[in-house]
């Protein structure tokens, strides 16, 4: 097998999730209660026998640092391998300079010292499963310089609006990358996932730096499309990109389709996550729960429908929670009626008796808020 190391990139500064992102990077966002988004790229790598993984940390790294730990959680042998956290060096005042390229430049010495030949670069704001070992095999046998993973969607007019799209020729050659501005329904969304040789990666990073301080890896790859053999490989299965608040909300609720969830979480492809040692959930007499995903440590006395409930949530008597995403340790007080909301961690909704939004334009209740 080819020797591969992994890079989990920090999300680009132009991707903004209002509210949620004030408290943690997208990588550390809770996903269907039990997971964090970064669990997906890291588990994909770990399951692909990639045991040296660099995670580029954005701002507010504390929660992500604690979540990642030494990598044991993700079944990475801490002696043979390493889950290494790399920090931006004093983030620039103007955040347009905080590109992925500048993060790689700052850690170039470490990247150069890697002894693996290939690198897989994956995003920390997208949710999908993919065997990267297979992808690298495909990359090698195709003879391409760079392989990009993409997903064909039919809702690019209203979704994936901050993502890149790949323009492909008949041979799956990449003609160019461009921002999706919602012009067409059917698009090949670039999954921000690259395979290439380590040496080419270093060369591109250095070129990008020379080109412009604002150049990203996607920019330099797009600019190299004429000179290099860049190919797209189609991904199948569940795919979500958290590029704004609505897409975060939708990605969670989409998995209430239990068949879809079973497709994403397959027995032979474990998604690892850090345990919090919470106890099972108690459903009290009088509770009613329908079509919902519920994490451990909850106390449920009220009504829950079509919702995702995080760890240690309390839903008191008479409360109604519908079409909502409730994050860990939140408390929904007696007779409170919540619909179409994301309730952030530690928030308490006690006095506000009705907070209702259309799931098409969901609402947000801030972390540790008391309402």
């Amino acid at each position: 097998m080819a020797k591969i190391f992994g890079i989990v990139a920090s999300s680009a500064p132009f991707i903004k999730v209002e509210g949620m992102q004030d408290y943690r990077p997208i990588a550390a966002f809770s996903f269907i209660g039990r997971y964090r988004i970064v669990d997906f790229p890291i588990s994909n790598m770990s399951n692909s026998d990639i045991d040296y993984i660099q995670v580029y940390m954005g701002n507010k790294p504390r929660s992500l640092t604690e979540h990642l730990g030494s990598g044991r959680t993700f079944n990475i042998n801490s002696k043979r391998g390493k889950l290494q956290m790399l920090f931006p060096q004093g983030s620039s005042v103007n955040e347009i300079y905080n590109t992925d390229i500048s993060a790689y430049m700052e850690n170039l010495e470490i990247i150069q010292r890697m002894h693996q030949d290939y690198v897989v670069i994956a995003p920390s704001y997208m949710i999908y499963t993919q065997n990267y070992a297979d992808l690298v095999e495909e990359h090698i046998s195709s003879g391409a310089d760079i392989t990009l993973l993409y997903h064909r969607v039919d809702n690019a007019k209203e979704a994936f609006l901050n993502c890149f799209i790949l323009n492909l020729n008949r041979q799956k050659g990449v003609i160019s990358l461009e921002k999706n501005i919602g012009k067409a329904k059917n698009r090949d969304i670039f999954m921000d996932t690259y395979v290439m040789k380590k040496d080419l990666f270093i060369q591109l990073v250095q070129e990008a730096k020379k080109e412009s301080s604002m150049f990203t890896l996607a920019d330099i790859v797009s600019a190299s499309a004429a000179d290099l053999d860049i190919r797209g490989v189609a991904h199948r299965g569940y795919f979500a990109a958290v590029t704004d608040f609505k897409s975060y909300f939708d990605a969670n609720l989409a998995l209430l389709d239990h068949k879809l969830a079973e497709n994403l979480f397959r027995p032979d492809w474990t998604i690892y996550t850090r345990t919090t040692d919470s106890c099972p959930t108690t459903y009290c007499t009088g509770a009613s729960v329908k079509n919902s995903i519920v994490s451990n440590g909850c106390l449920i006395q009220g009504i829950v429908e079509n919702s995702v409930i995080g760890r240690g949530v309390t839903i008191e008597k008479g409360a109604v929670v519908r079409n909502s995403v409730i994050l860990s340790y939140a408390q929904i007080g007696p007779d409170v009626h919540i619909e179409g909301q994301v309730v952030d961690k530690w928030a308490k909704v006690i006095r506000a008796k009705e907070i209702i939004a259309d799931p098409a334009a969901p609402g947000y209740i801030r972390r540790s808020d008391n309402l």
Binding site: I32, G33, R34, R72, H258, A261, F265, T270, I271, Y272, T273, T275, D277, S278, C279, P280, T281, T282, Y283, C284, T285, G286, A287, S288, V289, K290, N291, S292, I293, V294, S295, N296, G297, L299, V304, I309, G312
Partner: protein, 378 residues
């Protein structure tokens, strides 16, 4: 690295009163409370009490128990000087492979292991009780009282006292007499089988006991009486709180049912004293669109599409459409197929109750143990 207090868990017995549940696993490894195993309780208590090194004395069919407890990371017992060590009987240079002849003999055979940590105190625990206890507080009491041996006791109803080992104490809490299952109990203080010994005192007693040909090498029958006879200072440490021996199917079922009383006496949700366990890589629990879940204790990885009433559902349990689970405990991996009905039963790991089958009996005095696949009814 010397340790102030070492813990030794007596995990040996077959646990035959648990019948078919212990065919393949030792009693301490039996599943409990949805996501736990019984031995998680003493091990988590050790971790939370600041104990770094725990020996687990095993004998019977211990491969699952061994591999389970050896991964000390589950209880944080894997840092530099910590560890959970499985101690089976072993062959020595001068003798053949031994079995443990009694609870005290299990410790005697591991004196070299204990000595290597130079402990001042030794904590003896058993592996089949459900409770939360701060052993560090008990150690403080042991030191304050200047005891040679401190025995944890719990008050039991006087009429049940004759089922226990009873400690008779004086006004200051000194143990003056120990009676195993007395017909006429003089006190209601039952021994919890939790001992803190000052190690040098116990060591001396064990060396003597090993040589005694008439000894049954048992803490209750031999060591405690010898301590009493020698005029050693034995004190009782009164424990308040939830404590349950889960040695029978009925008591195991009951202890599971006690969890439905959320935030009750055994508050599993108390974050200051968590019970740690293996973390299954499982989805959160999923409750389907057309179900009734009425008073239940359910853990991650469970999928509920049917109705559940007053029951405990473990990791990976599936209750299919139209199935009913009432007053029951489903251990990990149980599948209740469509239309089946389970009442007042404890269903063993990975058992499938076939379509439309009916098991258990709402009117029976005892809990039905289901340890074999139940065929569906066409």
């Amino acid at each position: 690295m010397s340790q102030n207090m070492l813990a030794m868990i007596l995990a040996g017995g077959r646990g035959s009163r648990l019948k078919d549940l212990t065919n393949k696993v030792a009693k301490p490894a039996v599943s409990f409370g949805g996501k736990y195993r019984i031995v998680d309780f003493p091990l988590s208590n050790c971790a939370n009490s600041g104990i770094d090194v725990v020996g687990v004395l095993t004998q019977y069919e211990s491969v699952l128990l061994n591999s389970y407890v050896a991964a000390g990371r589950r209880w944080g017992l894997d840092s530099k000087d910590s560890g959970v060590f499985v101690l089976p009987p072993r062959e020595k240079a001068d003798e053949r492979l031994n079995v443990y002849r009694g609870t005290a003999d299990a410790i005697s055979q591991n004196i070299d292991f204990i000595d290597s940590y130079e402990p001042e105190y030794l904590l003896i625990l058993s592996g089949d009780h459900i409770y939360k206890m701060d052993y560090d507080a008990m150690l403080t009491y042991h030191k304050e009282r200047g005891a040679n041996l401190t025995v944890a006791v719990i008050p039991v109803p006087m009429k049940e006292a004759s089922r226990f080992g009873i400690m008779n104490t004086d006004e200051e809490g000194n143990i003056v007499e120990f009676e195993e299952k007395p017909a006429q109990p003089k006190s209601n203080l039952a021994s919890m089988g939790i001992y803190i010994f000052t190690w040098k005192d116990l060591r001396r007693a064990l060396v003597a006991d090993m040589r005694a040909s008439d000894s049954s090498h048992d803490f209750g029958k031999d060591i405690i009486p010898a301590f009493l006879a020698d005029g050693k200072k034995l004190v009782a440490y009164k424990f308040q709180g939830y404590w349950k021996d889960v040695g029978t199917i009925d008591s195991l079922w009951e202890a599971n049912m006690d969890l439905l009383d959320d935030r009750g006496e055994l508050n599993m949700n108390d974050t200051s004293w968590k019970i740690y366990t293996d973390d299954a890589s499982a989805l959160p629990q999923y409750i389907g669109p057309d179900t009734q879940v009425d008073h239940a204790y359910i853990t991650q990885g469970a999928v509920v599409l049917g109705d559940v009433r007053h029951s405990v559902l473990s990791t990976g349990v599936v209750v299919e459409e139209g199935a009913k689970v009432i007053d029951s405990v489903l251990l990990p991996g149980v599948r209740v197929e469509a239309g089946a009905k389970v009442t007042r039963a404890l269903v063993a790991e990975n058992i499938t109750i076939g379509k439309g089958a009916v098991v258990g009996d709402a009117g029976s005095e005892n809990i039905t143990l289901v340890a074999k696949r139940v065929k569906g009814v066409e």
